[in-house]
């Protein structure tokens, strides 16, 4: 029986798709069978982030419309054989794409995978409901900015009315230097204010922008790699370990880096 986890946020652009892809890769590295399902119909990007945009033949809408079998819409990742992606469509004009039908598709993946990661669209309207109704667990992604946190609070309120057994928070794009200089709200404080369990902290990493453009996920040369590894392990651990973004900015050298950042 798969764990069906929706990755949502409310606000767009906080890193849901990036986290979905990278978490999927890390879980696949732990020998789990993982499928990433892009439920963002119309503004889909999971294919671009994972580099499969030229390999799409069938997508989730084709499955719902019975134009193909579900296995035909799954694209296997070249680097991680345990990882599959079900892409979304660019547009649809079909009354069949309802929350119930999306849920049926996700349930069909139960027997084949250990994890079903659902990439949710931004917003809290019908597309959001389509993504959430098929999930048992939720990961709410925020950045340490007021607009993101405000939207996440609304999402948390809505998620409580669904059949979601476990809701956790991931704080993305955290700047360790700004945390130490008290210019950014700490992730633990964010979780306390939103009254939700903190599951992961992902640092701001310029390498991610570069890798996204190439359709690749994080590698060992990135600071975020360690953070995503810890996040993947947290999926199995009751006691969550969290990545410390401030480590490299502590001590004399760290202080020097922070001072230099302000001057340059």
């Amino acid at each position: 029986m798969a764990r069906k986890i929706v990755i949502t946020s409310g606000k767009g652009g906080v890193g849901k798709t990036t986290i979905c892809a990278n978490l999927g890769v890390m879980l696949a590295k732990l020998n789990k069978r993982v499928v990433l399902v892009d439920v963002d119909i119309g503004l889909n990007n999971l294919d671009v982030v994972t580099g499969i945009e030229n390999k799409i033949v069938f997508d989730i809408v084709d499955v719902i419309e019975n134009k193909c079998r579900i296995k035909q819409a799954l694209i296997q990742d070249l680097n991680y054989p345990n990882l599959y992606i079900m892409p979304s469509a660019h547009s649809y004009n079909c009354s069949l794409v309802t929350a119930e039908n999306v849920k049926k598709v996700i349930n069909q993946l139960n027997d084949y995978f250990d994890f079903v990661l659902i990439d949710c669209p931004a917003g809290i309207d019908e597309p959001f409901k389509r993504a959430v109704c098929g999930a048992d667990e939720a990961l709410v992604v925020v950045t340490p900015h007021l607009s993101s946190l405000r939207d996440a609070d609304k999402v948390l309120m809505i998620l409580n009315s669904y059949n979601i057994t476990d809701i956790s928070l991931i704080v993305n794009r955290v700047r360790g230097d700004m945390i130490l200089d008290k210019e950014m709200i700490d992730a633990n404080k964010i979780a306390e204010i939103l009254n939700v369990k903190l599951c992961g902290i992902i640092p701001e990493d310029d390498n991610i922008s570069v890798l996204l453009s190439l359709g690749r996920t994080v590698n060992k040369g990135c600071e975020a790699y360690s953070a995503f590894t810890i996040l993947a392990n947290n999926m199995f651990e009751d006691k969550k370990k969290l990545y410390d973004c401030t480590t490299k900015y502590k001590g004399f050298l760290g202080y020097f880096k922070r001072s230099l950042r302000k001057k340059v």
């Binding site: 007021l146 405000r150 609070d153 609304k154 008290k182 210019e183 950014m184 709200i185 204010i193």
Partner: protein
């Protein structure tokens, strides 16, 4: 005040302002459920229940339930 603390205060204010207010129909439903629950133990009427709520500084909903009655109902406890 430090920047971080200003942000935190501002965030708390925004979240508090955004909290959904309990509508009158919803309050009436809660009152009705409370009445149905307590009517098993107390001799009360729906009008005897006074319900107030507010949102505190931390964004928590606080519900004050006031009930007055002059009689409790006899309850049979079955001893094994």
């Amino acid at each position: 005040m430090r920047f971080e603390q200003k942000c935190i205060n501002r965030l708390k204010n925004i979240l508090k302002q955004d909290k959904e207010r309990l509508s009158v129909p919803m309050l009436n439903m809660i009152k009705s459920d409370i009445y149905m629950s307590l009517n098993s133990y107390f001799d009360i009427h729906p009008e005897d229940i006074n319900l107030k709520y507010f949102i505190d500084e931390n964004g928590y909903y606080a519900l004050d339930i006031g009930i007055k009655c002059n009689r409790i109902k006899k309850i049979n406890f079955f001893n094994k």
